[in-house]
Amino acid sequence: MPHEPPRAPQVNRPETHPERRPLDAFYLPPALAAGAETTLQSFGAPPDPIEIRLPVVTAEAIARWIDQLRAAREKHLAKRTTAATVRTLNRVVERFLDPRSKQRTEAIAALSRAGSFSAPMLAQALDDAFQPLARGGLARWLGTELGSTQALDRPVKGPGGARRRAHGPEWMLQIYAGNVPTVPVLPLLSALLLRSALFAKTGAQEPLFAPHLARAIAEIDPDLGACMAIVWWKGGQSELDRVALDRAPAVLAFGGDPAVASIAQIARRDAVVVLQGPKLSVGYIGATALRRGAIRALAARAAHDVALYDQQGCLSPHAYYVERGGMVAPIAFAEALGSALEDASRRLPRRAPSADAASSVQMSRAQAALEAATGRITGVVESKRGTEWTVISEGSARFEPGPRHRVVRVHAVADVEEFARAVAGSERYIEAIAVEERGARRERLIARLSELGVPRITTVGSLQRPTPLGTHGGVPRLLPFVRWTTIESGSAVKPRRAAPKRGAPKRSAPKRSSPNRKPPNRKPPKRRA
């Protein structure tokens, strides 16, 4: 009998069902939650969707929440010391790294039930996101970008010796994408570190982790918790976007090209707007790194970067460019990468992809087979079962994003110039290059690759763990949102002494000023630790 087919993608039914209570896919502090109406919605794919609770978001609610967040910021955050905020956030970081903590176990349980990733993958994601912030990482991040951990507290000595003080925006609007759950970590913390209230919109695919993180912060520190609100509303509801964007003095948004283009159009003219559009990463492996004894370990590191987040993130490599002339040929590297991806499928198992995603993988495999048949490419190795992983070997360089879901190309190249020619014009879509090469050749290679202006160059196997000290998309994480007060200490141009005009009133001569002169009645500034 004719019937309408099921609409949503299928996923594997998990072995066990932990608990069935609805998950809160939002965070509103008590003052904002008081009047908020919520609804229950089915989220995730049949046959095992979960129930999530969402607040009803209206234009009026957004406007009211923003006003309340601004008031809370004035009360709790505007004059708070950075050290106090860092203390709280350090505890939050520790909790997410503690395998026994409620925050970590709940996050993994909820996200593996609802999201696109398996529990081992999520554990790795939390480690990658929080470990660089632990053991003084937050302070190092602040110090690196602002010159001092106290730059927001009082004037401190800046570059060139002038004292200056940093100011964050009153509040920030952050719009997250749903591809990798831990992407909101640094943005969310950056708002609090800058003493900004935060109003955030989550991605539709992943509305759980950012609210979970905000709740973890609020549990430890209700004052910080009072200054954040994180909700989701359906994309394309321009009137809701507009209410938030019309008001926001600072916007940080992640998304596909059409989404970020529309945000750029609507945002206030005087707002600081940082947009992070679609990106991907690649690897470059030099000839001297292709040694027989090292190839398995190298392939394992490359496979780790590919497998993590199933290539959904901008740090996911879509292709490795491998030099000819090494002890191991590029095609042998491709085979080793295939074996390593097979291993990775056990260590970092994927969730079953949607039918659409699997169809794209099958299309790229069929296309690769046709290209291999007609001599355009060297060959394809793929998982024995399903669409688990695919490695496509090509005899020359080109640049084209793959369909994700562990489909990776290995391009044999003559040298770095062949790679540079292939990516010419597309450099802006590359977030990072993972490089493997030895000795002086490595330095020369890195010098050449850095000419491309790609935001990040790292080692194979480290793509997915960016340091907070670096940038995102080439843009620092705090600095774009900071306004500076610079304190000058009177290096004024000495006015030329003119002959007093006859009959003019007598003036005292201006005092000589020295740039280093301290105000007599003020203590010298403390040196930062």
């Binding site: 004719p2 559009g277 679609p278 901008c314 659409d356 087979a369 399903g386």
Partner: protein, 353 residues
Amino acid sequence: MDSGGDFLFDVSPPRWLERFRAQFSSIHPYAAYCRYLGRTPETVTDWREIPAVPASAFKTHDLSAARPGTEVAIFETSGTSVSRPGRVRLGSTAAYEASLLRSFEQHLLPDGARLATVVFGPRRMEAPRSSLWFMVDRVTEAHARTTLYLVRSGEPKWTEADAVLERAEARGEPLLLLGTTLFFMAYFEHLGRGGRTFTLPPGSRAMDTGGAKGTTVEFAREEVEAAFAHRLGIAQSHLVNEYGMAELGSQFYDDNLLAHHEGRPRRGGKAIPPWLRTRVLHPETLEEQPDGERGILVHYDLANVDIPLAVQTEDIGCRVDDRLFLEGRLLGAEARGCSLPFETFLAESGGAS
């Protein structure tokens, strides 16, 4: 090789294998692909074993039996900023035309009506590489009493549309409207701005299709149906959605008008013409799915004479008897069917993370 037109409607089992053999010897990259897969005329004994080319291959390979320079039509699939469009070169359009006319007549003109026709789109000569406007050109030439094209020099002529609908309404003359869903919806937005609606005379009907290449705009079917009913007075029974792609000579139609004409309840999904077979493959294992189970759609189309008859699409859907149920993306099907790797990446990517 047969030209297809007259023989199209002989759908006996050997026809698929005959077509495969002919294409194996005349389309060289296809033959190489079949050899690579180990499935050649010597080994293939069942139509299901005929290798299907991925729809994306039309972008990278010349998959045509027509000698370059002898083709009578070249259709392009959508291109992107970094990939060239796919090309479908046809040495003869006889089978293509026979197929498209038969399906169109059955689903839009079951009563044999000969109607004044309004095309919400350009003349074929303004879009010579579009398989959709080729199809519309053939259909109107064969069946339209008069034809008005509302897109000229790339500009929509909304005022003329208003005038022709107003005249038809006043004279009680039913119309046949043909166009892309996107274009119809844009016109309805124009009508909405003026608060304007028409009640077209009984017998008026419309065919809408996802032919707006490169667009990612999608509408819920209910929204489209409601707009046709409200703005033009065309009920669901007289609105027929068509699904086609440049890589297939045949198209798929909704049952609405045919069911109305035959006075029976409407069947779900779209009709699979008898000269086309669709296999539904499990997205992970590529094993054939039973009726009603969803998977990747692979079509085997006897209307494909000069290009491989078996085409693997990226579309997901299921088949129940001779009905095809497509999932999502219906209106962007033409854009989607041939894959938009880079732009899809840009549009769908979750962003830099």
